[in-house]
């Protein structure tokens, strides 16, 4: 840095530690609550050090759900969330890379029309077309199904843009060389474009996996049977009663399980995550 000032360095560390503590405080309380008994939590103030119910609470929610309310096991919900997040992430990447390839490497009537119609979807989040979209899903008979959870969300303007921007930077010489060697578009796509796009696909995957895992409004609308709940919806359904009647120890164990997979993806794939975040928002 510019100057050497121990006091300022100390201050910076103090602020950052404060920030980290503030950000982590809810996580700590959640974790502690997930290891306590119900009675320990409702005896105000609850302890701030973990108890001994860790195994009991987590086994309970994973295998049998909550004790009083919904009896859907959280393991099923986690599986539903995983299927949904993976289908959305992989589906978006697949259909976007194909459309970007078509738009960049072909000239055909209606090219810019198609491009702009994909662009416009940016301006139509689920929230502004709730009921009609629900009706379409109902007409197609995909309510309460994995297809219904993922399919309506896999159109992606941002991913299409990102791939288009990236394809523009692939040197023309590569396509020329491929053509001289007699490679058609399919060969070129598989042998040149796909391998070159790997890092972009990884970065997009992290962002889209989190996006898919954390979906809320859409699953809330189309899942009515407990066997199709995603874990985020499951938590919401467990909070039915008032403050002191909710089974907080089980809700908090479920919340931990709901946060763990996407948080791990972010922290372990940090490099891809940052790249994906910065590039998709450009």
């Amino acid at each position: 840095m510019v100057e050497n000032r121990p006091v300022r360095d100390f201050l910076a560390h103090a602020v950052l530690i404060g920030g980290v503590a503030l950000v982590a405080f809810p996580l700590w309380v959640t974790f502690v609550a997930s290891t306590l008994t119900f009675d320990q939590i409702v005896s105000v103030p609850m302890p701030l050090w973990p108890g001994d119910q860790f195994l009991h609470n987590y086994t309970q929610v994973l295998t049998a759900g909550s004790e009083k309310g919904s009896s859907a096991p959280v393991s099923t919900m986690l599986l539903n969330s995983l299927i949904m997040a993976l289908s959305i992430a992989l589906g978006k990447i697949a259909i976007s890379i194909l459309s970007a390839f078509a738009i960049v490497y072909f000239r055909f009537p209606g090219r810019s029309f198609f491009f702009w119609s994909v662009f416009v979807t940016l301006m139509l989040p689920v929230e502004v077309r709730i009921i009609p979209t629900f009706k379409v899903a109902a007409d197609l008979g995909i309510l309460n199904s994995h297809v219904g959870l993922a399919l309506p969300l896999i159109a992606s303007a941002t991913a299409t843009f990102l791939f288009r921007q990236f394809f523009m930077t692939i040197p023309d010489e590569l396509a020329e060389a491929a053509r001289i060697d007699g490679a058609g578009p399919a060969r070129f796509f598989i042998d040149v474009v796909l391998p070159l796009s790997k890092t972009h696909m990884a970065a997009l995957f992290v962002i889209l996996f989190i996006y898919g895992w954390n979906q809320y409004l859409w699953p809330l609308l189309i899942t009515t049977s407990e066997s199709m709940y995603t874990v985020v919806i499951g938590i919401k359904r467990m909070i039915a009663g008032g403050d002191a009647s909710n089974e907080w120890h089980l809700i908090m164990a479920t919340a931990m399980l709901a946060m763990l997979p996407p948080a791990l993806v972010v922290m372990l794939m940090q490099k891809w995550f940052v790249k994906g975040l910065v590039e998709t928002e450009k």
Binding site: M1, V2, E3, A12, H13, G19, V20, V23, A33, V44, P45, M46, L48, L98, S99, Y105, F108, F114, S117, M123, L124, E127, V128, R129, I130, I131, P132, T133, K135, A137, P152, I154, A155, D172, A175, P185, F188, I210, W213, Q215, Y216, L217, L221, V232, I235, K236, I239, A244, A258, M259, P262, A263, V265, M267, Q270, F273, V274, L277, E281, K282
Partner: protein, 293 residues
């Protein structure tokens, strides 16, 4: 920008575009068109007959004090979320940029809330602040604060703002950190040699150079607080008490799904669409200009 080398095929590009376009038409354009269509209709309670009423739903909306209050609530909520989120993240990013050791560790521990679903974030904070058993409620009571967001409007608003900001800090932090790291160190060194202290350097060099990032984040945070915070609100206050935290998106959902008022809810959807379109246009306008900064 165009490619010089292209492939020739009369049908292949259409096949490649087909999946994307099918989903776009089926789940985006058709429903959006339907929303516009419904917004000009009034349906009876059972949804059997409907009547075309032109702009009556819209006129009714703007006469409805609940709807107007929802606008005020949304405006207040998004300004609170955007400004406090940006200020906190800017402070943390400036500090993280100034230290030599350990920046990566701090970054790792600051970015994970991005991965938490808004609804789950809401549940965590609702638990900590729960009126009868919450741990923070307990400390507040010790300090003499009577905390109950279930019946107190201001406290309910504060709760959803805190939960929403908490989730968004990581996003703002990463963009600010990237912005700070792209500022040439030579500028800061030159200013230091000329005798400018850290605060002076921040206000005269760092802050102006960060303004594009700040503006971008402002727009993104407003979009976030308009739409993505639905989960936070549904998992905590459900718009209450009264209408105190019923933001526009929550009202669309509430009127359409819970109160089954198709026409009114669709008219609200259309108004929201207009808001998103304007925000997106602002964002893109600005990105074009950013290049010349």
């Amino acid at each position: 920008m165009e490619k010089r080398v292209v492939f020739k095929s009369a049908w292949l590009p259409y096949v490649l575009l087909l999946p994307q376009i099918t989903i776009t038409v089926l789940f985006f354009f058709w429903p959006a068109a339907q929303a516009v269509y419904y917004s000009f209709q009034i349906q009876d309670a059972f949804g059997i007959t409907s009547q075309f009423v032109w702009f009556r739903n819209y006129v009714d909306l703007f006469k409805d004090s609940h709807y107007l209050s929802s606008f005020r609530v949304t405006a207040f909520f998004s300004v609170m979320v955007a400004t406090s989120g940006i200020l906190i993240s800017l402070l943390l990013a400036t500090m993280a940029d100034s230290i030599v050791r350990g920046a990566l560790a701090y970054k790792t521990f600051l970015i994970w809330p991005y991965a938490v679903a808004p609804a789950v974030a809401g549940v965590l904070w609702a638990f900590i602040f729960a009126p009868s058993i919450g741990i923070v409620t307990y400390f507040l009571k010790q300090l003499g604060v009577d905390w109950n967001w279930i019946i107190n409007s201001e406290q309910a608003m504060l709760l959803v703002v805190v939960a929403s900001v908490w989730k968004q800090i990581s996003y703002n932090f990463l963009f600010f950190l990237a912005g700070l790291q792209s500022i040439p160190k030579s500028l800061l060194e030159a200013a230091a040699i000329d005798g400018a202290g850290p605060f002076r350097r921040f206000w005269t060099i760092v802050f102006p150079l960060l303004s594009p990032t700040t503006f971008f984040l402002l727009v993104m945070n407003i979009i976030y607080s308009f739409f993505d915070t639905f989960g936070v609100i549904d998992a905590t206050t459900e718009g209450g008490p009264g209408d105190a935290t019923k933001i526009l998106v929550y009202k669309v959902y509430y009127d359409g799904v819970k109160a089954a008022d198709l026409g009114g809810s669709s008219a609200q959807s259309v108004i929201l669409m207009i808001i998103v379109v304007s925000l997106t246009v602002i964002q893109f306008r600005y990105i074009e200009r950013r290049v010349q900064y």
